[in-house]
């Protein structure tokens, strides 16, 4: 026994160091070459395609009208996301509350506004005047009656109302439609995130005597963020591009601005490319943001970073360095 263990325990000279020969990955190489060749052909066909007219693209990329449209797209997206997620968080909290009425209302909202296509919803808002011709302050009749009694003068019964068409501009119609749509999706994303937090967290915070609001904002929500952010990132990007639908209401967003120009000069494809380039840039910026927000909420967890995440982090760091050098 002891002889055998000493023989295997020590590296014997008869067992010379053997080289490890990696397996040949012929298949991997062949597939890679084929895919690269196809990619090169596609890129070549686009880059050297006279119909794409890259010169026109370059001319219009920073045209004032395009930049104004770009700005509209950005702020529409930002305002929609912020208000949509605030409403969505409220809806999620309602849905998780023990109050049956709040619960049902939240469920009904999500059910309804996830069922209506965004385009249809926008068209409803655009035609709001056909549903509610005038918009008035609540109890305006009574208020006016009291005011006329107090002042002793006849008051115009329409003083506290205005025609919908005047009050709700197309921009507001677009914004309302987008927000209502986004809130319904945000509610489900936030609710899913909250449900992903272990029940013991709520329990131990309750046992410590923390208030319900404090437990929600300090304990549950920050942990829910870890599963909210990836889904929300998706919906942010979806909304960014979803804003292009408002072009049907003649809101001058990025796409509509491009359309205005190509209706004038007939360079349809190059101007669609201009819009596309900006959408790609905006989406990339959002992705970088998402990476940093995810990293922020991953505090305390030991999950390793994905290569894609590291690449985004690297790109983000380079961009930040270039920007700081410029200043």
């Amino acid at each position: 026994m002891s002889v055998v263990t000493t023989q295997t325990g020590e590296p014997s000279s008869s067992q010379a160091v053997r080289k490890i020969i990696p397996m040949r990955r012929t298949g991997t190489w062949i597939t890679a070459i084929i895919v690269l060749a196809i990619s090169a052909m596609v890129i070549d066909s686009l880059a050297n395609n006279p119909n794409l007219n890259w010169a026109v693209v370059g001319q219009h990329l920073t045209a004032p009208l395009i930049l104004r449209g770009l700005w509209t797209t950005i702020w529409l997206t930002v305002v929609t996301i912020i208000i949509g997620y605030i409403l969505g968080t409220g809806l999620a909290a309602m849905r998780l509350s023990k109050n049956v009425v709040l619960n049902a209302v939240s469920w009904a909202y999500v059910w309804l506004f996830r069922s209506i296509p965004l385009l249809v919803l926008l068209l409803f808002w655009f035609n709001i005047a056909a549903i509610y011709p005038r918009i008035e302050v609540p109890f305006s009749d009574q208020l006016i009656w009291i005011a006329s009694l107090v002042s002793g003068q006849e008051i115009d019964p329409k003083a506290l109302s205005a025609p919908s068409q005047q009050l709700i501009t197309t921009m507001m119609a677009a914004l309302f439609g987008l927000i209502m749509h986004e809130a319904a999706y945000a509610a489900e994303i936030v609710r899913g995130g909250i449900l992903s937090v272990h029940h013991g967290q709520q329990e131990s915070a309750t046992a410590l005597g923390l208030s319900k609001f404090r437990i929600f904002t300090r304990i549950i929500l920050p942990q829910a963020m870890r599963s909210i952010i990836p889904a929300a990132g998706n919906s942010f990007i979806g909304m960014l591009k979803g804003t292009s639908i408002v072009s049907v209401l003649a809101v001058e967003d990025l796409l509509y601005s491009a359309q205005i120009i190509y209706n004038f000069n007939y360079h349809v494809i190059p101007l669609l490319l201009v819009a596309t380039i900006w959408y790609v840039i905006l989406t990339s910026v959002l992705s970088i943001f998402q990476y940093y927000i995810e990293r922020h909420y991953a505090r305390g967890s030991r999950s390793s970073e994905s290569p894609a995440g590291m690449a985004i982090g690297f790109v983000g760091a380079q961009v930040a360095r270039v920007l700081s050098r410029k200043q």
Binding site: G200, T206, L208
Partner: protein
């Protein structure tokens, strides 16, 4: 109702407490009295209602019958015209703040550092300043022997360390009563000792504690009173010497034979 020996009102008094989940009756009229400064260990088979009893004492669960009082104050209800009125959340919170609880699965807040875990409740519930809360946290960390982990996150700690932090977090509220719900059941065997040592030191300092546990050695060593529960009832209770040395009830004897 008062026990003949108890001259002083016990800190915790549980009388005829009933609790059901749906049709399942988990507590079927439990009586228990814990004097201030006393350590009570509750043992019994799983499903006997031990944990539920603890959770009723700080009103994490609502009871359906009987009464629980801590420090002479009814928990979760106010007596008015002979009726029991359910308390508002804010009032229950005040009562809970006086009762520390340590869970089987630690339940530290994973997104907060050890310091933030300990300071959260003293700051938001007691309104302590950051400096005050942090100074107190350092004292407690010294007590549980984890001063060097002050900036660590729970995920970077062993189970035993997490449970010691959870004890420090509960103590930061300066409770009059500590409830331990199987504090070592989720731990690797070699980590049980360090947690029990902390609890034992706490007992020696005069803290009133109710400990639900499967650690019979600990119960024998530390408890002033051992309570055996089975099927939602207290079957037998007594000082550890007589409880372990000469149990009265058959069910107690059968249980002790199985676990010892």
């Amino acid at each position: 109702m008062s026990a003949p020996s108890a001259v002083v009102e016990p800190l915790v008094r549980v009388t005829g407490v009933r609790k059901s989940f749906g049709s399942l009756e988990v507590l079927r009229g439990v009586d228990l009295a814990v004097a201030a400064g006393e350590v009570t260990c509750v043992i019994g088979p799983s499903g006997s209602g031990k944990s539920t009893l603890l959770r009723c004492i700080n009103h994490l669960e609502k009871i359906q019958g009987g009464e629980i009082s801590v420090g002479g104050q009814l928990i979760g209800y106010r007596e008015k015209n002979g009726n029991l009125h359910e308390m508002r959340d804010a009032e229950v919170r005040k009562q809970r703040a006086e009762i520390g609880m340590v869970f089987q699965s630690f339940n530290l807040f994973p997104h907060m550092s050890v310091m933030e875990n300990i300071c959260e409740a003293p700051r938001s519930v007691r309104g302590k300043s950051k400096q005050e809360a942090e100074a107190q946290a350092m004292v407690l960390l010294k007590k549980v022997g984890l001063v060097e982990k002050v900036n660590a996150y729970p995920g970077q700690l062993s189970g035993g360390q997490q449970q010691r932090i959870a004890i420090a977090r509960a103590l930061a509220m300066e409770p009059r009563l500590m409830l331990f719900d199987e504090p070592t059941s989720a731990l690797d065997p070699e980590l049980v000792g360090e947690v029990l040592d902390v609890i034992e030191a706490l007992a020696a300092s005069g803290m009133t504690m109710i400990v639900v546990t499967h650690e019979m050695g600990f119960a024998r060593r530390v408890a002033n009173k051992v309570v055996f529960m089975d099927q939602g009832l207290v079957v037998e209770e007594g000082p550890p010497e007589t409880f372990f040395g000469n149990p009265r009830e058959d069910r107690t004897r059968a249980f002790l034979r199985a676990v010892l």
